[in-house]
């Protein structure tokens, strides 16, 4: 995993540094004086050879020194971590809503496989997960926030708002994300349950004389959930791709907006750190997913000796 992290950092560094033109110029703009640009480059260290910059960058990361923003000079950690917190709140809300609904819909569809209600769930999921998050966000904004007056257009939550007050701000953007993830999770849950229902052990359970509810609860669900858990963990990782669009539409000052700004201003330290955080979050979530699966499936658990 460390190796993967290192590769990630390298990829990010490469991406960000294959820049035509120099950083100092980009930051100060085309009208700045040459000496000022040169001095800025010296301060920032961007006039040194690339390889040296790379090693410095890696060293800094390892020591958790995230540097300062090119744009504002404030430490990157002061910018990025609070933004991360805000995005996390939004994401958490989205997942808290999505996961139970999607899994339940998947189970519902699986039990009615082949029937109309099943096809409705599958196709609805297909459609909703096809739509980019920013599209859903725009539509929700237009329909609910503007026309109907529910929720807020600018989602930034003022300090000190009550829990339910916060919901008023966060619900619409969270819903935009829910739409996207519902499809994948519901479909994975559905196929897991179908496979489990068709298994021999489900047959054994039925033949023992258990009711279909007992079969489902005691035997099917536990075995059906592994692929769904994996999908959920992957969605957590890809979250940050979609959240950028939503944050832009709702003007939410989360990590996505921060990254977007940094991209525009070529603020490399901010960018690098943000992207790395996203990568780390993905890895952590897959790790947690693996742990959870091992917990549920003793074969994986016990073989690891």
């Amino acid at each position: 995993m460390v190796i993967t992290l290192w590769m990630l950092a390298t990829i990010v560094f490469l991406l960000v540094n294959v820049l035509p033109g120099d950083v100092g110029r980009k930051v100060l703009g085309p009208t700045a004086r040459a000496e000022d640009v040169a001095r800025l480059n010296e301060t920032l260290g961007t006039d040194r050879p690339l390889l040296q910059q790379y090693f410095t960058s890696i060293k800094n990361l390892v020591t958790l020194n995230f540097g300062d923003s090119y744009q504002s000079g404030t430490p990157v950690s002061d910018l990025v971590f609070p933004a991360l917190g805000r995005s996390a709140k939004l994401a958490l809300l989205a997942f808290v809503i999505t996961i139970p609904i999607s899994i339940a819909a998947g189970i519902f569809a699986a039990r009615r496989e082949g029937k109309v209600s099943d096809r409705v769930v599958v196709n609805a999921g297909l459609a909703s997960s096809s739509i980019p998050e920013f599209v859903t966000a725009s539509v929700l904004l237009a329909v609910f926030a503007v026309q109907l007056g529910w929720g807020k257009v600018y989602a930034n939550v003022p300090d000190g708002t009550s829990f339910f007050g916060q919901l008023d701000y966060l619900l619409l953007p969270a819903l935009a994300m829910v739409f996207s993830y519902f499809g994948y999770i519901a479909r994975m849950s559905r196929s897991g349950v179908i496979a489990s229902l068709q298994s021999d052990y489900a047959r054994t359970a039925t033949m023992k004389g258990l009711t279909s509810g007992q079969v489902m609860r005691r035997h099917v669900l536990r075995n059906a959930m592994a692929p769904t858990i994996t999908v959920i963990s992957v969605q957590v990782g890809y979250l940050f791709g979609g959240i950028i669009g939503v944050e832009k539409v709702f003007n939410y000052a989360g990590l996505g907006s921060t990254m977007l700004n940094a991209v525009g201003k070529k603020d490399i330290p901010v960018l690098q750190t943000s992207v790395l955080i996203v990568g780390v979050i993905y890895m952590v979530s897959t790790l947690l997913a693996d742990l959870l699966i091992a917990l549920l499936n003793p074969r994986i658990r016990l073989d690891a000796d």
Binding site: L15, V135, A142, V153, K248, V275
Partner: protein
């Protein structure tokens, strides 16, 4: 007296459908393959999802090809008022720059339909090659490549593409190249698992025991058997490509204004929603949604037919 002799079992459940009895059996085989393709197409045509998807895609293709003929106004031109609501002369209204939204929506199909399919195909090509090598050769190459693939996969495509495009510029070919490169690891992973499964089958062992080269085994033995999943993956990737390209242009990494690209239109106009001007955002957004859904419906239908 009746004797039992050692005649093998008679015949096969599925005779070659289009062959006349006196035709050379090799022609019958070729006819059989053609018939199999027709069969697949026939099964697809039975699915309303597939037909619906194809229809919608066709509409947009027509829009892209014949923009100048269909669009009522010049998409780049200021016409009458700013932000006029939909009316008979402007069915989709006008946007904040006074341009006819309907024309812009029609014109917007062009870029997306140029970029997305090519990016997807290149990505699948790269992914198939990489996936074959990883899955068949295994060993050190697979271990290293898997780590690299994992690293790429831990970041959302949109994010990486955003970074890359901002540094490399946003011409069409850059977008195609970046998206294709980012799709390669994803496709490689799917192809790799399919190859791993095939590799265990005895016909591969048999080929290797014959002394066939690795290239032969990968390309001629294994590849034909995984073509189903690859085709499904291709159609799914096209859907993702449309999705990604639209998102990128929304985030500012698409073709520069005043290009009528759909994502850019949403990006330009979403601020107007607050003021009540919803149409300039809604219609391009709906266009994006319709195209992605249509492609995904096609992909889903193909997947179901291939699986059966």
């Amino acid at each position: 007296m009746t004797a039992i002799d050692d005649t093998p079992e008679s015949n096969d459940p599925v005779p070659a459908p289009d062959a006349a009895p006196d035709v050379d059996s090799r022609e019958a085989a070729a006819a059989g393959r053609k018939a199999a393709r027709h069969e697949t197409l026939r099964l697809l045509m039975k699915r309303p999802a597939f037909i619906g998807g194809v229809l919608i895609v066709m509409i947009w293709v027509v829009c892209a090809l014949f923009t100048n003929l269909i669009a009522p106004y010049n998409p780049l031109d200021y016409r009458t008022g700013l932000n006029m609501s939909p009316s008979w002369s402007h069915p989709f209204g006008t946007d904040k720059g006074g341009r006819d939204v309907l024309s812009r929506v029609i014109a917007g199909a062009r870029d997306v339909l140029k970029i997305a399919p090519i990016a997807a195909m290149l990505g699948v090509l790269g992914g198939v090659i990489l996936g074959l090598l990883m899955g068949y050769l295994r060993g050190a190459f697979d271990t290293v490549a898997s780590r690299v693939v994992e690293a790429f996969l831990s970041l959302p495509v949109v994010l990486l593409a955003l970074l890359a495009i901002t540094t490399l510029g946003n011409s069409n070919w850059v977008v195609i190249g970046v998206v294709a490169t980012l799709f390669t690891p994803v496709v490689a992973r799917t192809v790799r698992s399919a190859v791993l499964a095939e590799r265990e089958l005895d016909y591969v062992t048999s080929a290797r025991l014959r002394g066939e080269s690795s290239l032969f085994v990968m390309y001629r033995e294994i590849l034909p058997n995984i073509s189903g999943p690859i085709i499904v993956e291709l159609t799914v990737r096209i859907g993702y490509a449309v999705f990604t390209v639209a998102t990128l242009s929304f985030l500012g990494a698409g073709p520069p204004p005043p290009s009528p690209d759909w994502g850019a239109q949403v990006s330009d106009n979403y601020n107007s929603i607050v003021a009540g001007y919803w149409w300039s955002t809604f219609f391009p957004a709906a266009a994006i949604a319709s195209l992605v859904i249509a492609v995904n419906l096609i992909a889903d239908s193909i997947e179901r037919v291939v699986k059966s």
